[in-house]
Amino acid sequence: MSEETAKAAEKSFDYDRVETLLQEFLHKKGVMVPILQKIQAEFGYLPRPAMEYVAKRLRIPVSKVFGVATFYAQFHLHPRGKNIVRVCRGTACHVRGVSKVAEKMQEILGVGVGQTTEDMNFTYEEVACIGACGLAPVMMINDQTYGKLTPEKLKGILKNY
């Protein structure tokens, strides 16, 4: 997200949605992770204004909220797409030429690792191993596994989403 769109998002941010989520946690201890989980469930990621708001309401430094959010792999600081594409970069897939598949996928989607397409339809991620080495090279889109991939097959698969 460019700086301007980020700023615009901040201006129009609906703090009431965060406030509602916070209600059950106020005046309790050790609630940071559950709060962040709730926010992520609500927004799909952790918007920066939401983290700043949490810091303000809990009266803790915002760098602390940020520290927790970046510590856990489960939290995302950028909006995620409707569909999550996970391409396996494990050894077996590597040997069977996943590099070309990954390259092609990024080219089709027009995004890099961890990024989301403009239309918010796909987020592209790479993972260490999916555990389906027999199907290498392999990827998952949401919960669906696709094996024996070639760069040519990708467009057809993506059409379903």
Partner: protein
């Protein structure tokens, strides 16, 4: 509690039950290497270097977080411990860059020291240095995270000492680093550049900017910061007669290892090329360099001539809130015995007399009643009329620590949103100038609801009977109408304050610089007295001072109405004591205060003025009037570090040594003295102020009987009851002398107990003039100080904050069609200034604020001379202005 005994390296040692193994080892003289441990930070056991072996079960324990248990058998240097310790250091080194030879941390690097102590030698590990871009945009701190070893000292310092919370860990595992929100550069974060993290960083990850290749400084000089009234101890690193860096004084000193940006990075005005190097005399309107001999001769002659022609009271002296106690003492002695006049004042006149009078008449001593350590014990803290984040950072840290770490509740009374607002339990925003109504209504409510400490009030105070009647009209409804604060809020503030077992009050120039500030101080005192909070450990009243020696200058009698130690010039007994000791008769005429001196110069009554380290052209209201007055003098001499706006008007300018070039003491706002020590030789031919005064007295043929600063101190000790015992038996300074002394000392003619005094609110006479619809508040800024004479010459401060901004509310900006950075003209009935606009949500509508510390646009100029009748303090807090945009083509 029973001491706990353990076996440490084969020897039985005992400690108290809450000690850690590391603490006990240190106490027993056993060294265990650590990196992440710091006595005043929470121990987190992250570096693992302090591993020790429990010989009973073979466990390796991090000694900094393991408490001692009876019967433990610990070995701090067993072969296993040493093997592990070496491996940990090797692992640290394996991910550390190879840049030791060019790293400016040099021999001060703890990692380097420990590696060499343990004899690490060549690494057999594969090196995986971390890479990181060096962050060096801001002028204060350079961050090179490739050298970070994750000790988290910076994170803890930021969260536990200065409670800013700009830093925390970012990410995890190998890539984890201390970082700001979003890992953005420091200048985009909450960071205030206090430099505490830099001082604690064990490696070269955090360094002062521009320290490049200066090598290791071995010479450390412990001294006292020259800026605000907190008087923090600082340690100057000196190399080749040059001050390389300043860092917080030792942890056991007052400021507990903290400083602010001015203390850490504001010292280099000392080496500014603008420093005066030689005495100057004005010949035909232009300054010429001259010798000390000639300059002093001319000064002495001129002063003697005026004295002969027009009498001693045609001379006056403005003393120095930036000079040492000893120099102020000498200066008033010079005025009273050499010149023969009581016309001596100092620029704490601009903010301090309300405290002196308000507290003096009520309690018997002129200032803060408690120390900052005690503030952290308070349950409730009332902060009114002050933004300590800018004006007294150490107080700010103490308040935040009390709130965050000890659960104190803060009642903040300020129309502006300040950095403390987010720490406040209650934040009251009174209309400007109505504090007194608020305070009186709180007092009334405390009496009405019987929340007062009856026993204390009946047994330990005087004059309570006068109070209820005087408070009659200050009902909650009345207060709500005048202050604009909801009565429920006033009610809960009053209850919160009254019901706390220990509650403290802090106030600053937002109280004392308003007309009627004395009454507000009395009202604050009434509150403290009603609730019995005045002597309690976590109670008391903290009167903040702006300048580092504002307190000391007054203590030393650089005042028209007081001899040293607040002994009145009208107290014949005191006068006699000084006359006998000094062997002269003291002037009988009452002296004039600072602004009265200006008026009398204008009236032609005062012909000669001697100014030491003050800059009235910028610091006094109506600079046009002051400039005119000073120019009309027969003779003006100025002693200063720089050719200030005032010095330019002088006939003779005498170059003075800075705080780092002389010896002496400062007294901070708590009343504690801090020692200053000579770190470098004076620039050029500069002389310490005390030496200049002595030489001048000699030239005037009325020599003062001193030749060393030590002799001055001895006389102060003898003659100033407040400073009795400030030297120890060997004649050395004692650090905390004054504080306890002050509490037991009464200077005012106060008989019996602390007194309640009534404080009546008088509404401002003038109606708001439609032509000047905005109320302008002057405020302190963190990055500059005073009139900006020194801070604008500290290059880092100047580079970071080079321009003056007027802050105005969003709604007002909209009305005036202003956008950020627009240039505007600020017009008051007496003067105008230009500044750039900064739009903020921090101010209520109708209020603008302007920092006072920019020499190019001194906010004081906008004020008319409007003296408080009691204290002769000019009103310098709020005035009415209008704002006009300056279009680009103009």
């Amino acid at each position: 509690m029973q001491p706990v005994t353990i076996t440490l390296n084969g020897r039985e040692v005992s400690g108290h039950p809450e000690m850690t193994i590391l603490e006990l080892a240190r106490e027993s003289g056993i060294t265990i290497p650590t990196i992440c441990n710091e006595p005043h930070l929470t121990s987190i056991g992250s570096c693992r270097l302090c591993l020790v072996e429990n010989e009973q079960n073979g466990a390796l324990l991090a000694s900094c977080v393991t408490p001692i248990v009876p019967g433990m058998v610990i070995n701090t240097e067993s072969p296993r411990v040493m093997e592990h310790r070496r491996m940990i250091v090797k692992l640290m080194l394996a991910s550390h860059p190879d840049s030791c030879l060019v790293c400016d941390k040099g021999n001060r690097c703890q990692l380097h020291q420990i590696a060499s102590d343990l004899g690490i030698g060549l690494l057999e590990l594969q090196r995986i240095p971390q890479t990181a871009a060096i962050e060096e945009v801001n002028p204060f701190i350079e961050r090179d995270m490739s050298k970070c070893i994750l000790c988290a000292k910076c994170v803890r310092a930021c969260q536990e000492l200065v409670v800013e919370g700009a830093l925390d860990y970012f990410q995890r595992g190998f890539i984890a680093r201390p970082a700001t929100l979003n890992n953005s550069p420091l200048e985009n974060s909450e960071c205030t550049f206090c430099g505490v993290c830099v001082a604690l960083c064990p490696t070269g990850s955090l360094m002062e900017k521009k320290r490049v290749y200066q090598g290791t400084t071995k010479n450390l000089v412990n001294t006292t910061c020259p800026y605000c009234g907190c008087g923090c101890s600082i340690s100057l690193e000196v190399k080749d007669n040059y001050i390389v860096a300043a860092r917080p004084g030792k942890v056991d000193t007052e400021n507990e290892g903290t400083l602010c940006v001015k203390g850490s990075y504001g010292f280099d005005f000392i080496h500014s090329p603008d420093r005066l190097k030689k005495p100057l005399v004005k010949v035909n309107g232009a300054f010429q360099e001259t010798s000390w001999e000639k300059a002093l001769e001319e000064t002495a002659e001129a002063l003697n001539l005026i004295k002969e022609q027009y009498g001693p009271d045609s001379l006056a002296v403005l003393g120095a809130v930036k000079c040492t106690n000893e120099e102020n003492y000498l200066l008033q002695k010079f005025a009273r015995t050499v010149l023969g006049t009581n016309n001596i004042d100092n620029s704490s006149r601009l903010y301090n007399p309300a405290t002196r009078l308000g507290l003096g008449t009520s309690i018997g001593f002129p200032g803060t009643t408690n120390c900052l350590e005690a503030l952290e014990q308070s349950e409730v803290i009332v902060a009114i009329g002050t933004d300590p984040a800018a004006s007294a950072p150490r107080v700010n840290y103490a308040i935040k620590r009390a709130v965050k770490l000890r659960g104190a509740k803060l009642i903040l009374i300020d129309p502006r949103r300040t950095k403390l607002s987010s720490f406040a339990h209650l934040w009251l925003r009174p209309k400007v100038g109505t504090d007194l109504v608020l305070l009186n209504s709180m007092s009334r409510l405390i009496i009405d609801e019987s929340l007062l400490d009856k026993e204390f009030v009946t047994r330990k105070t005087d004059n309570f009977d006068a109070l209820p009647g005087a408070l009659e009209k200050y009902s909650l409804e009345y207060a709500e109408t005048l202050t604009g604060i909801k009565k429920e809020e006033i009610h809960s503030a009053a209850r919160l304050y009254a019901l706390a077992d220990q509650a403290a009050i802090i106030y600053g120039t937002g109280i004392t610089q308003h007309p009627g500030g004395t009454a507000s101080v009395k009202a604050l005192f009434n509150l403290a007295l009603l609730t019995g909070n005045i002597w309690r450990n976590g109670g008391g009243i903290y009167a903040l001072q702006r300048d580092n020696n504002g307190q000391g200058a007054c203590d030393m009698g650089a005042l028209p109405d007081f001899l040293p130690g607040y002994q009145s010039t009208e107290d014949l007994q005191a006068k006699k004591k000084f006359e006998e000791h000094w062997g002269v008769s003291l002037p009988a005429n009452p002296g004039l205060t600072a602004l009265e001196i200006m008026e009398q110069i204008k009236a032609g009554k005062i012909k000669g003025l001697y100014i030491v380290g003050e800059n009235p052209v910028l610091s006094f209201p109506r600079s046009d009037f002051v400039t005119e007055a000073l120019s009309s003098l027969d003779f003006l001499a100025v002693q200063d570090l720089f050719l200030t706006e005032t010095a330019r008007l002088a006939g003779v300018v005498l170059p003075a040594a800075s705080f780092a070039e002389k010896e002496g003491t400062f007294t901070n706002f708590e009343g504690k003295t801090g020692r200053i020590r000579k770190a470098v030789a004076p620039a050029g031919e500069c002389l310490p102020d005390w030496e200049i005064i002595l030489r001048l007295a000699n030239k005037m043929e009325r020599p003062l009987p001193f030749s060393t600063i030590q002799q001055v101190m001895e006389e102060i000790e003898e003659l100033v009851p407040l400073y009795e015992g400030y030297l120890d038996s060997e004649g050395k300074y004692q650090n905390e002398w004054g504080f306890w002394k002050r509490r037991s000392h009464r200077w005012h003619s106060l008989k019996g107990f602390p007194r309640f005094s009534t404080a009546e609110y008088t509404p401002p006479e003038k109606k708001i003039n439609e032509d000047y619809p905005l109320t302008l508040l002057t405020e302190a800024v963190l990055y500059h100080f005073g009139t900006g004479t020194r801070s604008s010459r500290a290059w880092r401060l100047q580079q970071f904050s080079p321009r003056i901004f007027i802050r105005i509310n969003e709604a007002d900006a909209k009305k005036l069609g202003l956008s950020p950075l627009d240039k505007v003209r600020i017009i008051s009935p007496v003067a105008e200034l230009t500044a750039a606009v900064s739009i903020t949500g921090a101010l209520p509508e109708g209020i603008a604020s302007l920092p006072a510390s920019f020499p190019e646009a001194p906010a004081t100029r906008l004020f008319d001379i409007n003296l408080d009748t009691e204290t002769k303090t000019p009103s310098l807090k709020a005035c009415n202005v209008r704002i006009e945009r300056i279009d680009d083509h103009e």
